[in-house]
């Protein structure tokens, strides 16, 4: 990638002037951003729309139904030592995802410091936390399916509850699973030193760089971000 500031003599303006300057220049609009990261952001923007549409369809179903919506506090409660704790599993899943977001942020940071082993270990921890999240979600799905929740009916209330639950959490869980897969792949690559030597990837054939860890980090934080909205609107509301 070429140096962007070499063509202009003056330093780049900031704020509104920076906005018009960057978009008006006949080069690339997103200055100081590796292309892979810019593309990841564009992808995440499109993904935002997908999850927005899911949550909006959930809102429409819930606001238009005349049958009472199931009480998620009770549906997702777990009985621990004879005491029913509301949303226990969901709370644990939330904390696991936030923890994994923290380790991911630190992996990005150590990646830019070229700390090979530290980055690989942090990526591995993130991947393991993500795996446990998916495992808990599988447990939750199993529990609800055993209790008779289906996409078309459920014993707790409005039938749309099942379809919304499986669609929204399923799509989110799929994102987590793909993220876990790429976390393991990247942890291996970092450990092997691909991003120090610039070894080309097996699929894209692009040179390995530590910027890739940041793009992966953006994806992982986005998965956490989506969970924040699902947790608020689907589980707590």
């Amino acid at each position: 990638m070429n140096d962007t500031s070499s063509t202009s003599i003056k330093p780049l303006p900031d704020g509104m002037d920076g906005l018009t300057h960057d978009w008006a220049s006949d080069q690339r609009a997103f200055k100081g951003v590796p292309w892979g990261k810019a593309m990841m952001w564009i992808f995440l923007l499109s993904d935002t729309f997908i999850f927005s549409i899911f949550l909006i369809s959930y809102m429409t179903a819930r606001w238009s139904t005349v049958v009472p919506w199931p009480n998620t506090s009770e549906v997702f409660s777990l009985t621990v030592a004879g005491v029913s704790v509301p949303l226990l599993l969901i709370a644990i899943m939330t904390f696991i995802l936030i923890t994994s977001s923290g380790t991911m942020a630190m992996a990005v940071r150590s990646g830019y410091q070229k700390k090979r082993k530290q980055t690989a270990i942090l990526l591995l921890i993130t991947a393991i936390l993500g795996t446990s999240f998916v495992g808990m979600q599988a447990f939750e799905w199993t529990k609800l399916i055993m209790e008779g929740v289906r996409p078309w009916e459920n014993p707790f209330g409005a039938p749309q509850f099942g379809s919304v639950f499986f669609m929204v959490t399923g799509f989110h869980g799929f994102h987590v699973s793909i993220g876990v897969l790429f976390l393991f792949i990247n942890a291996r690559k970092v450990w092997r030193g691909d991003y120090d030597t610039g070894k080309r990837g097996f699929f894209t054939w692009q040179k390995g760089r530590y910027e890739i860890v940041e793009a992966l980090g953006l994806y992982w934080h986005f998965v956490d971000l989506v969970w924040v909205f699902i947790f608020a609107f689907f589980y707590l509301w």
């Binding site: 509104m16 920076g18 978009w23 997103f30 952001w41 909006i56 139904t65 949303l87 942020a105």
Partner: protein
């Protein structure tokens, strides 16, 4: 290339991490203590937007990005908000229609339309009960 990285002190990440934990505990407490009504909804939204904001701003480095990228990513959210407003209005209408016509077979409620113009035409027959379904 070396200047393009995002390098920030680790204390920033740790502080945000702890903050996200605390905010998650708060939002869980909303359910645990079964707060209801406007208090519940506003607290859920406040904690949600705070968490989302911190994740985007710090973990995803948005506060350190140039405005061209930030605007490109955040301005399309207006379309989402418009869609929420449209579908909110639509679902309100759908529910009102269902309340009116998907009744459990009480004719007086089925025909309690504001106009009342066709009331005398249909309300005498017993089939109006069945028609509701």
């Amino acid at each position: 290339m070396a200047t393009e990285g995002q390098a920030h002190p680790i204390s920033v990440y740790l502080k945000i991490w702890i903050l996200l934990f605390v905010l998650s505990v708060f939002s869980y407490m909303v359910d645990f203590y079964q707060l209801q009504g406007w208090l519940r909804w506003s607290l859920i939204l406040i904690f949600m937007f705070l968490k989302a904001g911190f994740i985007m701003a710090i973990f995803m480095h948005m506060v350190w990005e140039r405005m061209a990228l930030v605007v490109a990513l955040l301005s399309p959210m207006v379309a989402v908000l418009v869609f929420i407003a449209i579908m909110g209005y639509e679902s309100e209408y759908t529910q009102n229609s269902r309340d009116l016509f998907f009744d459990d077979g009480k004719p007086d409620k089925v025909w309690a339309v504001p106009h009342g113009a066709h009331k005398s035409d249909h309300n005498d027959g017993s089939h109006s009960t069945g028609e509701a379904h």
